[in-house]
């Protein structure tokens, strides 16, 4: 394990009875990095986060955060962590202010919230004086974000952080994340929203059925993508196939392919076709994700 690694896991496994939550997952998150953790619901994202925070005890494997073993140093580690759970909920009987005061007391930090942090999310003092049970879902989520950030953590662990935020607030959140990153904060960002991971993360791990299927930088991930080809023929063909490409959709004379082979061979084949139009659309991460899953299924 290197000094620059803030989170390091090795062969981490968690079983709930006979069901595996996560199986032998290994990854590391570097200092100052925003690390995306991508997977559909039930893939094992929340289990991994709870293991990192010592809320769940692993069946086997190793977790080291800030160079310390989580099992024996969880208190010290949690002092430096900000955590936003998925489906954030708080004590309904407390006001927002009382809730933040409680968390500040638990952390033994001053009961002070940077005004800029509240302004960014449009939270006025009036909102913080209202009981949490009377807050809307969006406002509650903003309160969740503030409680994770207000004590300036060295490591942020965020589980689906933009749930319930409108697009404007999502942008504010991404901006805040980058601001903290510039201050040296490391972020573990769990999401099933591929576009936001693409937007904010440097690297990502894809988790599926409790197993990590890929860990790569966003750029590398895109490079590895199966390119898509969309073409329209001028006239129908009896038997239409392209070498190094697989049809995924056909609508009249319009075809959509996934390019699986050499592009030069493909281009040569295209030259012989009665083409009306063709385009290689720029892939987004959604397609990487879907293609990756398709591949896994095919295997």
């Amino acid at each position: 394990m290197r000094d620059s690694q803030i989170i390091y896991t090795e062969q981490l496994t968690k079983y709930y009875g006979r069901i595996a939550g996560v199986k032998e997952i290994s990854f590391e998150v570097n200092r100052g990095e925003i690390f995306g953790f991508l997977g559909p619901n039930g893939a094992g994202k929340t289990t991994t986060i709870r293991l990192l925070l010592d809320l769940l005890r692993p069946t086997s494997g190793k977790i080291v955060i800030f160079g310390k073993d989580v099992k024996s140093n969880s208190f010290e580690i949690r002092q430096k962590c900000g955590y936003l759970p998925g489906n954030f909920s708080a004590y309904g009987n407390l006001t927002g202010k009382e809730f933040l005061n409680l968390l500040a007391d638990l952390r033994k930090v001053p009961r002070y919230i940077e005004p800029g942090l509240l302004d960014r999310f449009g939270l006025a003092n009036g909102d913080l004086k209202r009981k949490i049970k009377h807050l809307s879902h969006g406002t509650l989520q903003k309160l969740g974000i503030i409680q994770a950030f207000f004590h300036r953590p060295e490591l942020l662990i965020l589980d689906e952080p933009t749930t319930g935020l409108d697009p404007l607030m999502q942008e504010e959140f991404y901006d805040l994340l980058h601001k903290y990153q510039n201050m040296g904060c490391t972020t573990f960002f769990s999401s099933h929203n591929l576009s936001e991971v693409e937007k904010v993360c440097h690297r990502l791990a894809i988790i599926r059925k409790g197993e990590i299927v890929a860990i790569e930088s966003i750029e590398d991930m895109k490079k590895k993508l199966y390119r898509k080809l969309e073409l329209t023929l001028r006239k129908p063909l009896d038997r239409f196939e392209l070498p190094g490409a697989r049809i995924i959709k056909k609508q009249g004379l319009k075809y959509e392919f996934i390019v699986t082979g050499r592009k030069d061979t493909l281009l040569k084949s295209l030259a012989d076709l009665p083409l009306e139009d063709f385009v290689f659309p720029r892939p987004d991460l959604e397609e990487v994700f879907m293609n990756y899953y398709r591949d896994q299924r095919d295997d």
């Binding site: 809320l55 769940l56 005890r57 909920s89 708080a90 004590y91 409680l102 638990l106 952390r107 662990i157």
Partner: protein
């Protein structure tokens, strides 16, 4: 180790029912003593009891014959089923709410993701629960002593006895809270763990009466927590205060240690 801010949270979450219990129990204690002092209930109750079969009369000895006196009534106030029920609800609800229900709602996960050690959490919760039960019982004690001072004569002896009874009662309900804590640290679903604890307490209570009625099951008395809570006997110097509090305290400590051990090793999800 004990977090005051967490105590504040627990008090805020439980104060509604705790204050209601304080008011209700204080009023009940006061009323019982008021009735005894203003009406000639003893001749009425004696006449009724003389008509009862002998076995039932033996059973009622502790709870009724002693009630005929002012001191007996003061002790009976601490053993009234409504008082016991309200205290039991408080004792069961505190760990149930703050462990199992908060685990279900996700707030416990958030709390323990902060620098809050699991054993600090359990001890803070336990101490807070003890304090809430203490305030309720203290209110009952004040209600009783006030009534005695108004309608009778408040002596040092009766103050001491009432304090012994209150302390004995406090320990009994701390024990109920402590074994509920064990059940909640092992349990998953809120209602289920609450029901288990309530049923267990009810079984103890019923067996306590049944073992007084039937000799054949009298051997279970030492295994029943209510055997070590004896307000009437304490009031009339028939009880064994030190034995009672020693046994209850030991059981409480055992329950607390099991809760600490189990909560420290379990998953929070």
């Amino acid at each position: 180790m004990i977090r005051l801010s967490y105590w504040h949270l627990i008090w805020k979450n439980n104060r509604g029912f705790a204050i209601f219990s304080m008011g209700f129990i204080t009023l009940l204690q006061f009323l019982i003593l008021y009735l005894i002092s203003t009406a000639d209930t003893s001749s009425i109750i004696t006449a009724i009891i003389e008509q009862l079969p002998e076995k039932l009369r033996i059973f009622l000895n502790d709870s009724f014959f002693n009630t005929l006196s002012f001191q007996g009534a003061a002790a009976f106030g601490f053993n009234h089923p409504l008082v016991l029920a309200l205290l039991a609800i408080n004792a069961i609800n505190i760990p149930l709410h703050h462990i199992t229900r908060e685990m279900e709602s996700g707030t416990l996960e958030l709390l323990l993701a902060h620098p809050f050690k699991r054993h600090s959490f359990i001890i803070s919760l336990w101490v807070s629960g003890c304090l809430i039960l203490f305030t309720i019982i203290l209110a009952a004690l004040i209600g009783s002593l006030s009534a005695i001072a108004i309608f009778h004569h408040l002596s040092q002896e009766i103050i001491t006895k009432m304090m012994q009874i209150s302390f004995n009662q406090w320990l009994l309900f701390i024990l109920i809270m402590s074994y509920t804590m064990i059940i909640t640290t092992f349990g998953e679903k809120g209602n289920k763990t609450g029901n288990i604890s309530a049923v267990l307490t009810l079984i103890f209570y019923l067996l306590h009466f049944l073992s007084q009625l039937w000799e054949s099951i009298a051997f279970i008395k030492p295994f029943n927590i209510f055997t070590y809570y004896e307000p009437q006997k304490l009031m009339f110097n028939h009880g064994n205060f030190l034995t009672d509090i020693s046994i209850l305290s030991s059981l409480i400590l055992v329950c607390l240690f099991i809760s600490l051990w189990q909560f420290g090793r379990r998953d929070i999800s």
